[in-house]
């Protein structure tokens, strides 16, 4: 990769994302205090002891935030990977196999998508136990519909290319066609979409936690931290703004990276300018 050719925006995106991922991975070793320990007064302002102050129970906000980074990013990443694998595999199969398989799956996905995601999630989570696994599963299944639509559309576009038909006429089997003919040419839009889905998962998870249905206390992802501290806003305590800002920063930086990947149209190796 030629580092001089990466535009400033993508560079900023990459750096910020890197910082957050670092926090997520090394959280247990870098938090100054325990994330659940009460170490000070309620809503203390920023000081040398507590770099960004304390939260609504007197816990160190920085430690909470770092721990929250871990929870947010891990859950969002897990859900994205699950949603992506399901959606992409099903989408590709639908495009390549066609016929009734395609019809039934696509109608089913249409149906799932006819109810707004947040509403559906709320409905389902109102009756399911609030474990981490159910949360990830619900998020993944609901979001996989969008991945399905996109990967199916991409695969259909590629499927009608003559070189795929040429492969069929040669006698290549379905595995070859999906993995050696279609997938390499679908990578760019898919990778960009992965980024966008991740952002959506982060925002979705945060919204669910904010509404009380996501990660349950005492653990908290960034959305949960917002919920815990939101009452302070009216009194002029900006504590809730910090996790909200972090979510925004993460979303923007991943967006910048995804945009950069999408704009790199020179996938064709050695393509003419």
């Amino acid at each position: 990769m030629n580092f001089q050719r990466i535009p400033i925006s993508a560079l900023i995106g990459l750096i910020l994302t890197g910082v957050f991922v670092f926090m997520a991975i090394f959280a247990p070793w870098i938090t100054p205090y325990g994330a659940a320990e009460i170490v000070g007064d309620v809503w203390e302002p920023a000081s040398a002891r507590f770099w960004i102050g304390t939260d609504n129970l007197g816990r160190d906000l920085l430690s909470r935030m770092i721990q929250g980074a871990r929870i947010t990013i891990f859950i969002a990443a897990a859900a994205t990977m699950m949603s992506f694998t399901m959606g992409a595999l099903l989408g590709f199969s639908a495009a390549v196999i066609g016929g009734w398989t395609d019809q039934t799956m696509s109608r089913g996905v249409d149906l799932l998508m006819s109810i707004p995601t947040l509403i559906f999630a709320l409905v389902v989570l109102s009756v399911l136990p609030s474990t981490l696994l159910t949360l990830i599963l619900v998020m993944a299944v609901l979001d996989s519909t969008r991945v399905y639509r996109l990967s199916r559309a991409v695969a259909v576009d590629i499927n009608v290319m003559d070189y795929v038909e040429a492969a069929r006429l040669r006698g290549e089997r379905i595995q070859w066609i999906i993995f050696r003919e279609i997938l390499p040419n679908a990578l760019t839009p898919l990778v960009a979409e992965f980024g966008l889905r991740f952002i959506f998962m982060v925002l979705f998870l945060s919204s669910l936690s904010f509404l009380g249905l996501g990660v349950q206390p005492p653990d908290a992802d960034w959305g949960g931290i917002v919920k815990e501290n939101k009452d302070g806003i009216i009194f002029g305590i900006p504590a809730a703004l910090i996790p909200a800002a972090a979510i925004s920063a993460l979303a923007i930086s991943v967006n910048l990276v995804a945009d950069w990947i999408l704009n790199r149209t020179s996938d064709l190796k050695g393509g003419r300018g």
Partner: protein
């Protein structure tokens, strides 16, 4: 001599290219072109695609597509329009100079009625009142041979056929009584039989109105019918300029000579052998069961020989290929390959049956996976069919590359780095690697420039001698057919209109359709158009 209408001096056209990963650089599309056009004169601009003809034509309106920069001098009616202000250019366009584009279907606004669009420029520039303009338009519709001239203006673009739309666009260009019309490949997108009518209509209109014209095309035979003078362009440079007679009968430059003599490939017609390698018996096929796309088609192909299947769009020739390859199982009839009955659908065929029947596509760009190297593409059949790997495989790939007249250096290149002709050659090599008995060539030269197409045809003929492979050659171009076929099948609306050895098929007496088809192919002869029209009534009910 009166002042010229158009006087282009040292026209240079440049573009700035910004590749996604690199620094922007300047590209010169047109180098130093000069031409003059007198009032009422028709000049043909001819060249291959990429020669810069459209760009030069549009410069007469000081218009550069996609940010092209024009420099030099372009005098129209005595004014250098390259120096004009925008407001003056708007007075020129649609009034003194008008434009007929290649694709009428895309050039009309789908949401507005035809008449409104036809008279728009005339009314805008105040040339006549709305009602006068409409009357003039109706008169033009009539003289251009359009059906129902009084009412056709009330239709929307999608309610009218392609050939009719092209004529409506010509009427739109003539309506403001311009001094110059720029015709940009106006008949290229039409079927050969429709082309005749539109061409005659345009020539007629030019003569009746006395308008000057720049006629842009890549087809020398077509331009010879309508122009007074011809300018030959290549890679943005002027190659030769002269009267039509001189260019066709006594070209001076090598390139012009090559353009004039394309398709004069000598090919001895072969005698059919005992056993055909492919026999198609009474095939009937349809998409989705209702409309029959092929009806009762029977043809044979003999080893090492070429059957040319010729017809216009909708004739069923490509469908025949789909049936033979098993992509579209026929509802009736059967196919015999190598003396054995061939399973009707692709999944039922054995790997050997698939190996011996190969296909080359029209658009080589999309016939190859852009993420595979030339070596991978050519080498895959070797591994798939013969299990050849490693050093042996590489040797064989180099052999094949030599056979297609490209060298070992191409093994690691990607399709995007190749020219149009080279891409098609790699596709040919891919087929050869399988050592097939029959190759289906589906319009393989139709998307290529005439000189490049010539090279591909010569290559295919040479390979046929060496490898003793048969070809099913699908095309709409009769000149190609005459050059390489041993036997010919003429298809029309899903049926075989005429079939037999080449000499038989191309000799009279003809059935109606073959007669129409053969007579519609423009020949490189002055006055050919008039003679064809004289032999045919121009029916306004036609396209």
């Amino acid at each position: 001599m009166s002042d010229p209408l158009v006087d282009i001096k040292n026209l240079k056209i440049e573009a700035t290219v910004i590749p996604p990963d690199g620094k922007p650089f300047d590209l010169t599309i047109v180098h130093d072109v000069s031409l003059t056009l007198a009032p009422g004169q028709v000049m043909g601009l001819i060249g291959e695609s990429g020669a810069g003809k459209s760009t030069v034509g549009l410069s007469a309106m000081c218009y550069g597509r996609g940010g092209l920069r024009l420099s030099g001098q372009v005098f129209v009616n005595g004014r250098d329009i390259l120096k004009s202000k925008d407001a003056d250019l708007r007075k020129l366009r649609g009034k003194e100079v008008t434009y007929v584009s290649q694709s009428a279907a895309a050039s009309f606004n789908p949401a507005i009625k035809l008449m409104d669009q036809v008279v728009e420029a005339t009314v805008l520039h105040g040339i006549s009142s709305r009602s006068d303009a409409e009357q003039r338009a109706i008169g033009l519709f009539r003289s251009l041979g359009l059906p129902d001239p009084e009412n056709i203006g009330n239709r929307f673009p999608h309610q009218v056929s392609g050939g009719q739309l092209q004529r409506v666009m010509t009427a739109m260009a003539l309506c403001p009584k311009p001094d110059l019309i720029v015709f940009d490949e106006p008949t290229t997108a039409l079927d050969v039989t429709t082309q005749i009518d539109v061409l005659a209509a345009i020539k007629n209109a030019i003569h009746e109105t006395g308008v000057a014209a720049l006629y842009i095309t890549h087809d020398l035979a077509v331009v010879a019918q309508v122009s007074d003078e011809i300018l030959v362009l290549r890679h943005g440079k002027m190659i030769e300029h002269g009267s039509v007679k001189q260019i066709i009968e006594a070209p001076k430059e090598d390139y012009t000579k090559a353009l004039v003599s394309v398709h004069i490939i000598k090919h001895e017609e072969k005698v059919p052998s005992e056993h055909p390698v492919l026999k198609v018996d009474n095939i009937t096929a349809s998409y989705g069961g209702s409309v029959e796309v092929l009806s009762d088609v029977s043809v044979e192909i003999h080893p090492g020989q070429t059957l040319a299947v010729v017809g216009e769009s909708g004739s069923g020739k490509s469908t025949l290929a789909r049936v033979i390859t098993g992509l579209l199982p026929p509802s009736k009839g059967n196919i015999t390959f190598n003396d054995a009955e061939l399973p009707k659908s692709l999944p039922e065929r054995s790997i050997d049956e698939l190996r011996e029947l190969q296909m080359i596509y029209q658009m080589a760009d999309v016939a190859m996976n852009p993420r595979q190297t030339v070596g991978t593409i050519i080498g895959r059949p070797l591994t798939l069919y013969f299990n050849i790997r490693g050093e042996k495989k590489r040797k064989r790939i180099v052999e094949l590359l030599d056979q297609i007249e490209m060298g070992e250096t191409y093994i690691d290149r990607y399709p995007a780095e190749l020219s149009g002709g080279q891409k098609q050659r790699v596709c040919i090599a891919r087929c050869l690697a399988a050592k097939p008995k029959l190759i289906i060539c589906d319009e393989v030269t139709s998307a290529l420039d005439p000189l490049v197409a010539d090279g591909i045809l010569k290559l295919l003929l040479d390979l046929q001698k060496v490898e003793d492979v048969a070809y099913l050659f699908i095309t709409h171009d009769l000149a190609t057919v005459k050059a390489i076929a041993d036997s010919i099948a003429v298809m029309y609306q899903g049926r075989v209109a005429r079939y037999g050895p080449k000499s038989q098929v191309l000799a009279p007496p003809f059935d109606d359709y073959t007669d129409l088809l053969l007579s519609s192919v423009p020949e490189l002869k002055l006055g050919w158009l008039e003679s064809v029209i004289a032999h045919r009534k121009m029916e306004s009910a036609g396209n």
